[in-house]
């Protein structure tokens, strides 16, 4: 029983961390129809920045600084690598995204010198706690709560503010909203800013639980968050969150059984099944071709 509870707990927390990354994927896709492959690496860079900054300044300064720098990084990536390609075919932007992803990984490799780096312990959330007699960390409980709060805030932003309305309009029809006087570029920048902010929050929660950062740390969580976004219906925020929780829980349960070596294979098999059976995912809208 204790084993089962510990599995579910760690599944929910892994799911929550995937959810925070998946939202970034799904929002950018919703607006630009671009799969931002560099998103997982932005997450990793946020982790590295935290390590280097916390060495020289106290945590109550370094946490906000990391959030700001990550947001800035996301913004700059969009301006430098995606904006000049706005009128180019969609494939070019995708390739540019892959380029950015490798660039970030290799810069991280250069900076860390290939040494695995250890994430600082953040007070309170890294403290141990007992839940139903199962020892774990506070971060395990805080992650899902944090995800739900952030998602509610985000949905409110999208449904009840002017910026949110503009985002929905851009997602529906890029050119028409441009004609209606919506500043496309600033809306896209805001999307990247929100996505990067969530990735930075996700990285604090994730690396507190799994405190080793290597240049490829972002690759696997990024890929799985992408699968979660597709599973929930890419473009839909609640879909991405629910997809992430399902994948997180299934993955940890499989790891606890005799099929442990297939835990990653399961995630990607799920991607294939979803694409074949229900290409729009759980909550995805059917794409309407505009003539």
């Amino acid at each position: 029983m204790e084993f089962f509870i510990s599995q579910i707990l760690s599944g929910i927390s892994v799911g929550g961390q995937y959810a925070l990354i998946a939202i970034g994927y799904t929002m950018v896709y919703g607006i630009l129809r671009l799969i931002n492959f560099a998103h997982g690496d932005v997450f990793m860079v946020a982790g590295l920045m935290m390590i280097y900054l916390s060495a020289s300044m106290p945590l109550y300064i370094s946490v906000p600084v990391v959030l700001i720098l990550t947001v800035l990084l996301g913004f700059l990536i969009e301006r430098a690598a995606y904006k000049p390609l706005r009128s180019a075919p969609r494939m070019s932007v995708m390739i540019s995204a892959i380029g950015v992803s490798y660039l970030l990984q290799n810069v991280a490799l250069y900076v860390t010198g290939g040494q695995p780096t250890t994430y600082p312990a953040i007070p309170f959330i890294s403290k141990p706690v007992n839940i139903f007699g199962v020892p774990t960390q506070w971060v395990t409980i805080i992650t899902p709560v944090m995800v739900i709060i952030l998602v509610v805030l985000l949905t409110m932003l999208i449904n009840h503010t002017k910026v949110g309305m503009a985002m929905r309009a851009v997602a529906k029809d890029f050119e028409a909203s441009q004609l209606m006087g919506i500043k496309i570029n600033s809306i896209i920048s805001i999307t990247f800013i929100i996505g990067s902010f969530l990735a930075a929050v996700g990285s604090i929660l994730y690396f507190t639980k799994y405190p080793t950062v290597v240049p490829t740390s972002g690759a696997m969580p990024g890929l799985k968050a992408f699968v979660a976004a597709v599973f929930g219906g890419i473009g839909s925020i609640p879909g991405a969150v629910i997809g992430a929780f399902i994948i997180g829980v299934c993955e940890t349960i499989i790891k606890g059984t005799a099929f442990t070596v297939f835990s990653d294979a399961f995630t990607f098999a799920l991607l294939i099944v979803i694409l074949v059976v229900k290409p729009t995912g759980l909550f995805g809208e059917r794409a309407t071709d505009k003539v």
């Binding site: 084993f3 040494q115 695995p116 774990t136 405190p211």
Partner: protein, 402 residues
Amino acid sequence: MKKRILALVLALCMVFTLVACGPKTENNDNQNNNNNNTDAKVIKIGVFEPLTGDSGAGGKKEYLGMQYANSQSPTVEIGGETYTIELVPSDNNSDQAKAVSAASNLVNANVSLVLGSYGSGVSIAASETFNDAGLAAIGVTCTNPGVTAGNDHYFRICFLDPFQGTVLANYAADLGAKKAYCLGELGNEYDQGLIAYFTQAFEAVNGEGSVISDSFPKDNSDFTTYINKAKSEGAEVFFCPVSIAYATQIISQAANLDVSFPFLGSDTLDDNMVLEAAKGTNIQLFVTTFYAEGGNPEFDAGIKEYLNSNSEAMTNNGGNDTISAVTVMGYDAYNLALEALKAAGSGDPAAVKAALPSVTYTGVSGAIAFDEIGDAMRDTAFIKTANTTDGVWEFVKEQAAG
């Protein structure tokens, strides 16, 4: 007009940069030519190590030992003449696909022999390239039997995995463990090989079914599931011979899960990063290794002074002056190479290769002599434990396989 001036300025800039580079390269060329013409006052030793990638941390520490040895004895006396030793590093990226081109670089640099690599997989991949060039190679800490088996050019100065696995299983039995949980990376020959040898020896003592083994996929970061499984299965020892990055994850995650069983690790876990992860926790961690700090106080003092006076070396060592066993092995390998050069009487690769089997040397890590396969005859390994309050390694005992 403006454009023309700009173009002119740019052109001049280019010319000047070329000029600036020019003399330097010429000098280098002259030096090289001189070396070739007068038949060399310089002997080159190739360093085949992963300086980047998964094993970058380990490779750098091993190279560090060679650099330190080189700063201590930069020349070698052969036949009454003094030769300067030059280390030629070549990065194999911890990647078997890149190992071959890194090996070819060393062959093209006309080295007399090769030291390395950290990691058995890359050594095996490059073995054929060295053989084709007639070069001898000395493995420093690659413990897989496949490195030296079936060839006459690859030698090794450390112990082997079957030995290490058995030593660890015996030590687990000494700790009173009746049930063991083993965890390794899926598809990693080093991890899986050690687990197989460990299982064999442990089951011989405690009977069939006393070992549970699991594998995790590459780039995995959630190890709590495996640790909880070991707990619920009632394991009394947790054996994880994994790479440094995974080991730090396992140790720090276990610290939050209230585990009572000790962790056993192989030579890879003997690393500052792992020690740092264990610091301040209540984890019991034991590792087998090639050298324990304090075994040779004179050497310890010397290398600590070197590390503290050289900031780059310090960074490569992980930011503090704890001595890794691989650094000591790198030091011994360099000095053994000097012995081989003396025995060969020249820097000719063929002569070095012919002289190597009979070379003996007593290094910091113990006496080294090769058997007929080309492996060093070693019959004990050091066992160290992590002192989690002070963040240092403590020597426990020397353990034999028998």
